[in-house]
């Protein structure tokens, strides 16, 4: 068995567990100054890219 082959999987598992302990829960969502049209276009543009 090649132990080195496990290294990438172990790194991914470590990041996955880290995500559980650091879930980045938002304190409050900022909506002031945001523009629905701009958001719609940028969601579309992001999907294009």
């Amino acid at each position: 068995m090649n132990r080195k082959a496990y290294v990438p999987l172990i790194i991914l598992l470590a990041v996955s567990f880290l995500a559980v302990f650091m879930p980045a829960v938002p304190k409050s969502i900022i909506t002031e100054g945001l523009n629905g049209g701009d958001i719609a276009w940028m969601l579309t543009a992001t999907a294009f890219v």
């Binding site: 100054g33 523009n35 719609a40 276009w41 940028m42 992001t46 890219v49």
Partner: protein, 397 residues
């Protein structure tokens, strides 16, 4: 765009390497997406450390992104959306490099290389150019959608990789390796052209007239460059080829990328035409010299195309198109408007980015190779990467 790139490159390699080449683009979506959440976005857009790199703790694990203040230069969209738009740029940049070492790279070492490239080349360049505290940004460099950060960095890294990995066996043995599937190249070009509207018009970070202008310049430059590459081939006595038009169109898209939101729509005809011819000449010269095996001409297309775009932005950037050009602290309009500041700033930036992208990428190739050899064995190369790296074949015999 990245799946489009997979088809674009996948159609150009020989039939024994299609799957591996396409997968190199797809796996970038997997690896860089995770890396971006963990630390990549912080390195590129976190609190600036001297204008050179972002603090990796600023948005570590995306902490503070969903509830963060909108990015100062994208004030009408949530920070998380800006972060995801930028992620797509971070994904495609290392994927662009794959064309240079196609048909001979070890897939595992490729994954390690793109992690290192993203952390130590892409993120710093994004910080220098797009962060308000970045030192190139402060110099007044204008890069609307990634001419330096995406295309020049990928182009110079591709040149470093082609030199480091040396020539393919098939090339040294004068074996003929025709492209596996030209319709794949046409499909990939179509997907890239379509996706580039998001790349460039999206870089206006809003649904306004600037996005419309960038959308138009993007289409026109691609059209002009596709035609100029193909017609230049015809003028040299070659037949007008699908491959030539497709590569030319992509060169046009590359060249207009830094300029898309700064130049007028007719100017994009000139930019596309010049870029198509210059890249064609460089690609032809490189093929004729035979010294460097950049398999799919990534350097002539993205490196040279990106540099042409940067220089053209320094010549044609107009304050009437984008007020950023003439804002306080900016380097001013382009050479065509009688001011020299922006043009010389762009020449300096071009030298800095080229030197950094080539040198740092070469160093990362050396480090990667020391951990996992980057080149497959001669036998693996002979049978092709689809079988040797993945145990998969394009079509069963």
């Amino acid at each position: 765009m990245t799946p489009g790139l997979a088809y674009f490159y996948g159609g150009m390699v020989n039939s024994r390497n299609v799957i591996s080449t396409m997968l190199q683009s797809f796996v970038s979506m997997g690896v860089i997406s995770i890396l971006w959440i963990v630390v990549g976005f912080s390195l590129a857009f976190g609190e600036s450390k001297g204008g050179f790199i972002g603090d990796p703790r600023t948005f570590f694990m995306f902490n503070g992104v969903l509830d963060g203040k909108p990015w100062p230069l994208a004030a009408t969209i949530p920070l998380a959306l800006f972060a995801f738009f930028q992620l797509k740029f971070a994904i495609i940049t290392p994927a662009l490099i794959t064309g240079s070492f196609a048909e001979r790279v070890n897939f595992k070492s490729y994954i390690l290389f793109i992690v290192l490239f993203s952390l130590f080349v892409y993120s710093p360049l994004a910080h220098w150019t797009w962060h308000p505290e970045g030192f190139l940004f402060k110099m007044g460099v204008l890069d609307f959608a990634g001419g330096t950060v995406v295309h020049m960095s990928a182009g110079w890294a591709a040149l470093a990789a082609a030199i480091f990995l040396k020539k393919r066996k098939s090339l040294t043995e004068n074996e003929v390796n025709p492209p596996a599937n030209i319709p794949f190249v046409l499909l990939g070009t179509g997907l890239l052209w379509f996706g580039w509207f998001g790349f460039n018009a999206g870089s206006a970070v809003g649904a306004g007239t600037l996005a419309v202008s960038a959308f138009a310049t993007t289409n026109i430059a691609a059209a002009a460059a596709g035609l100029s590459w193909a017609l230049f081939d015809v003028a040299k006595g070659k037949k007008l080829s699908a491959l030539g038009f497709c590569i030319g169109a992509v060169v046009g898209l590359v060249a207009i990328t830094p300029a898309a939101g700064f130049v007028t729509i007719p100017t994009s005809i000139f930019i596309g035409t010049v870029a198509g011819i210059v890249s064609n000449v460089v690609a032809h010269w490189k093929a004729k010299s035979g010294r460097i095996d950049d398999t799919l001409d990534v350097f002539p297309c993205h490196g040279v195309g990106g540099m042409v775009g940067m220089i053209m932005t320094g010549i044609f950037a107009s304050g009437a198109i984008n007020s950023v050009v003439t804002a306080d602290g900016a380097a001013g309009e382009g050479l065509a408007f009688g001011t020299t500041g922006l043009f010389f700033v762009h020449l300096i930036a071009l030298a800095i980015v080229s030197g950094f992208a080539f040198g740092a990428s070469y160093l990362l190739l050396v480090i990667t190779n020391a951990i996992i050899p980057m080149r497959v064995s001669a036998e693996e190369e002979r049978v092709g990467l689809d079988v040797s790296q993945h145990d998969e074949v394009l079509m069963e015999a």
